[in-house]
């Protein structure tokens, strides 16, 4: 019989005391083995950095630190759980609709941690690299969880959407999107694998004369669209090249990434067309096959990398392999995505006009 | 003749020079003496056009200095500063050649080069001509500055404490050169002097400044009396003739009477360093 802390002898009947103690002991044991339904369940998921993270459920209050997260949350029909958003989202008022009213927590790269904490979220979802690991440390002080998801890499998008779906109890919506996504990705992949040629493509990043080297989103998009990136052999993600080099490699298609910040709000394709024309008129570039045949295209960042990369790939595949995809209508795809998954109507401009109808 | 008439100069609302009058005749030497801070250097700079006086005129051989362009003025007045900041390399020849600037349109002419060479030779600087000025001793550097002013081919020379950084021999040498030039080339010399004995010995006229005003002026024997020296410098001194020169021997600090109001003259920092 254990001594009581006060050291006094307990002169109660022995049998009564033992069962009393055993009873409490059993309760403790039981509690430690029970799933924590009384305090909430948890789930272990894989984050964008490849780590296995244990996330406590349920998740009712979310702070979304970037547009990709917010977009996926809307796809999963979980936008009512969003209690805080990154400040830059107000630039795309038209696209986000009522979500614009949600409290702002600062820049996606450098949020106001106090603002986040004051909203008492269950979880903060951010990119794997930005903001830095300090976010976890600081949020832990308030008992707020942090989940790192990239959601802009095509290969891992579906996994991550599923992770989020599971965490939010939105598996059905996640499956809907992933099926749709997979269907189109597979369809494109199949046709490309069977292609006889792989046209050479020059992908230019947002800054002029900076190609999309290995490791960049543009390079991935090119591969998925069945193109041969002329910068594939370079060493860094955004290498600067000379105009002469592009002329000498003579690509058959040129795709430029443009960032207007809000393609959704554009009235027409004029800004993209202007950019396209500027490229067409670059000195000595008329000797490039792509320029000579008018295969120069400009694409908005909204469909470049992110949850809508499939749209960007659809456009690119039409430009690079027009003969293989006579029926593919990227605009219709985009409309479908926006109406079905985002719950907004299709609007805006996202690419430049084609100069020649595909006649290969 | 170089005439200074009623010159006033202020520095930030402080009156530094009041009603200065001076006359420098060709071939004569006028020394400005006075304790530190009385405005000797300021006066020279006002005359040379480096500082702009608040009131008063400078007339050079009948021409009003105010109406002259700076370049024109540099053909009349040669200014020798106390020292020269050295930041970039320059040879002695180049430095003296710079004195020809008032005559140089774009590049030095043959004439300018010859003149420069002559002056360097006259001043016995020929051996140093191609050396950099930062490698010269104090005495040599001062000579170079004098040579530069002479290269301006002016009728009047203004010297700001030409001997203050020099050793005994170079002090004498410098002043002897100046006097010789003054007599030979009939140049009027105006110099601010620190040393009373040297100024007494080498000047024709003394201008004694005190607190920005003229205290007295006249021949050295007239101006440098023990009474004047006591008033202006606050020093008891003995003045006598020896070896043909006026000798001023400081004896002790004077007991300054309170009724005179022994205000310490304001120290005016030179404006353009």
């Amino acid at each position: 019989m254990p001594n009581s802390p006060c050291g006094t002898d307990m002169r109660a009947p022995r049998l009564h005391n033992r069962s009393f103690l055993i009873g409490w002991f059993a309760v403790f044991v039981l509690l430690s083995f029970l799933p924590r339904a009384a305090f909430g369940a948890s789930m272990t998921v894989r984050d964008a950095l490849g780590r296995n993270i244990e996330v406590s459920l349920p998740i009712q209050r979310i702070v979304a630190l970037n547009s990709d997260v917010l977009e996926v949350l809307r796809t999963l029909k979980a936008e009512d759980r969003v209690v805080g958003v990154f400040s830059e989202m107000v630039r795309e008022r038209g696209f986000w609709g009522a979500l614009v009213e949600r409290p702002k927590v600062g820049s996606w790269r450098d949020p106001d941690l106090e603002a986040i904490a004051s909203l008492k979220p269950d979880i903060v979802i951010a990119y794997s690299r930005n903001p830095g690991p300090l976010l976890e440390k600081k949020m832990a002080l308030f008992g707020i969880q942090v989940l790192r998801l990239d959601l802009y890499k095509v290969e891992t998008l579906e996994q991550e959407v599923q992770v989020l779906g599971q965490l939010l109890g939105r598996e059905k919506e996640a499956a809907l999107f992933c099926d749709w996504h997979r269907r189109h990705i597979e369809m494109i992949r199949e046709k490309i694998d069977g292609a006889l040629t792989r046209p050479s493509v020059y992908i230019e990043s947002y800054t002029d004369y900076h190609a999309a080297g290995p490791g960049s989103g543009g390079h991935e998009m090119c591969l998925l669209a069945g193109g041969r990136n002329i910068a594939a052999g370079l060493s860094i993600p955004y290498p600067r090249v000379t105009p002469e080099w592009v002329v000498s490699r003579n690509p058959e298609v040129i795709v430029k990434a443009a960032a207007y910040g809000n393609g959704y709000a554009l009235k027409d394709r004029a800004p993209f067309n202007r950019r396209r024309d500027a490229i067409l008129h670059r000195p000595a570039w008329r000797h490039i096959a792509a320029v000579a045949s008018g295969q120069v295209h400009v694409m908005d960042s909204a469909i470049w990398t992110g949850p809508r990369a499939i749209i960007g790939i659809a456009y690119m595949v039409r430009w690079i392999h027009p003969a293989l995809f006579p029926d593919l209508n990227p605009e219709a795809l985009h409309r479908e995505y926006l109406e079905t998954f985002q719950g907004v109507s299709y609007r805006g401009a996202f690419v430049s006009d084609g100069l020649r109808e595909a006649g290969r | 003749m170089l005439k200074v008439m009623n010159l006033y100069f202020n520095y930030n609302d402080t009156r530094v020079l009041e009603g200065i009058v001076a006359n420098v005749e060709k071939g004569r030497v006028l020394s400005i003496v006075g304790p530190n801070g009385t405005g000797k250097t300021t006066l020279l700079k006002c005359i040379a056009g480096i500082l702009k006086p608040a009131a008063g005129t400078v007339v050079i051989d009948g021409h009003d200095a105010d109406g002259m362009a700076r370049r024109e003025l540099a053909k009349h007045l040669g200014y020798v500063p106390q020292s020269m900041p050295v930041r970039f390399p320059a040879t002695v020849f180049e430095t003296v050649l710079a004195g020809r600037r008032p005559y140089i349109a774009w590049r030095p002419s043959r004439d300018d080069l010859e003149r420069t060479a002559e002056i360097i030779e006259e001043m016995n600087l020929a051996d140093l001509a191609m050396r950099d000025i930062d490698q010269l001793s104090g005495g040599q550097a001062q000579k170079v500055l004098l040579a530069r002013a002479l290269a301006q081919d002016t009728l009047y020379l203004l010297l700001d404490e030409p001997t203050s950084n020099l050793d005994l021999r170079h002090e004498l040498e410098m002043l002897e050169v100046i006097i010789t030039l003054a007599k030979r080339k009939d140049m009027g010399v105006l110099m601010a002097m620190h040393d009373l004995n040297l100024s007494a010995r080498f000047s024709d006229t003394i201008l004694m400044l005190y607190q920005g005003k003229i205290f007295c002026s006249g021949k050295p024997s007239e101006a440098m009396t023990p009474e004047n020296i006591r008033e202006v410098y606050g020093v008891e001194a003995a003045v006598r003739q020896e070896n043909g020169y006026l000798q001023i021997q400081p004896l002790r600090c004077a007991d300054l009477s309170p009724s005179r109001g022994n205000r310490i003259p304001p120290y005016v920092k030179d404006q353009e360093d």
């Binding site: 443009a258 960032a259 | 020269m84 040879t91 002559e118 930062d134």
Partner: protein, 344 residues
């Protein structure tokens, strides 16, 4: 004139001739560097082909040489010349051997102008907007310097202080704008600050040439006054130089030269500091020779740096501003080791 004076004159003449020789040598070296740069490029043209393309009328080779390589090299030469020239002028009027075209804040102001355009116009800007923005703000910064100089004093210390204040002002404003921008805009800004010779076409070259070469004769005309400035404002005034007016007009001219270069190419640092130094070490401080020579040396450096940046990591290009910064490092170490006297 007697013998000694004669010798002296001859000695001076000999030095002047040596300096003129250096000028000629620098000029020919520059032409050589430009020719070499012309023969190097990503399309790997052989020497014969380069010559043929130069002389031909049309064709891909012709386009590459005349539309891509030649403008690049000519622009490099122009900007380098401008930086060298402006650097020498700024060092003279600020009487500071560590001055450069960017000491008075022109670079920071130009950067701010460029960044403002990038942010205001978002993705819709044309490349020449940036040049306009950069140029406009360069002039604003020069105007600010002049305004302060007029109000207070046109001394070198006043100008340097104003310049440093401006540098901080425009840098912080630039950082603020960058902070508010999107990732793409930030990239664009960063790359602008690296400098780039790819964007210059013949029209830009024409404009840059006007802004860089037109003030040159005016500055050369004042070469002797710059010589005098180095002996102090006092001496210069006494020798007939209107120091205030000289400083202010030199600031205008040199800022124009600087702005004319960097508004098209972005900031190309170090050249404006290093070229006058190297030149001065060889031929001394006579600005009659220092101004053009410093320009030529600057041009040489930039042409060489561009060729280097295009070759070392081909086909990737190391931005010109980065290459010139690297050149500065060994140069300054050399200065540290070799300096025997207390000044330059």
């Amino acid at each position: 004139m007697n013998n000694i004076a004669d010798d002296l004159c001859r000695g001076y003449k000999a030095r002047a001739d040596a300096r003129a020789l250096f000028l000629a040598a620098a000029f020919f070296l520059l032409l050589t560097a430009m020719a070499i740069g012309l023969c190097i490029g990503a399309s790997g043209m052989e020497f014969r082909e380069v010559i043929a393309s130069l002389l031909k009328d049309t064709g891909r080779g012709h386009s590459i040489i005349w539309m891509l390589r030649l403008p690049r090299i000519v622009m490099a030469m122009l900007v380098g010349f401008g930086m060298g020239l402006a650097g020498a002028v700024f060092q003279a009027i600020l009487r500071n051997p560590l001055a450069s075209p960017f000491t008075l804040g022109v670079g920071s102001a130009a950067g701010f102008g460029a960044v403002s355009v990038i942010l205001v116009f978002g993705g819709g800007f044309q490349t020449w907007y940036i040049a306009c923005g950069a140029f406009l703000f360069s002039l604003i910064s020069a105007a600010l310097i002049l305004a302060v100089a007029k109000m207070k004093r046109a001394s070198s210390e006043t100008m340097i202080l104003t310049g440093i204040a401006q540098m901080f002002l425009f840098s912080s404003l630039t950082s603020l704008l960058q902070y508010m921008g999107t990732m793409e805009q930030v990239h664009e800004v960063v790359f602008w600050f690296f400098g780039s010779l790819s964007k210059a076409g013949w029209r830009e070259i024409g404009l840059a040439a006007a802004m860089i070469l037109l003030p040159f004769p005016a500055l050369l005309w004042r070469a002797w006054d710059f010589n005098l400035l180095s002996s102090g404002d006092e001496s210069a005034l006494a020798l007939g130089v209107n120091v205030k007016r000289l400083r202010m007009s030199a600031v205008v001219a040199a800022s124009l030269v600087t702005a004319g270069g960097i508004c098209f190419t972005g900031v190309i640092g170090f050249v404006g500091l290093v070229a006058p130094h190297i030149t001065r070490m060889v031929i001394g401080n006579d600005h009659q020779f220092l101004l053009p020579a410093s320009g030529l040396v600057g041009a040489l450096i930039v042409v060489f740096a561009d060729t280097l940046g295009r070759t070392v990591w081909a086909p990737q290009v190391i931005p010109i501003g980065i290459v010139t910064s690297f050149i500065g490092v060994p140069f300054f170490f050399y200065l540290l080791m070799k300096r025997t006297r207390e000044y330059w």
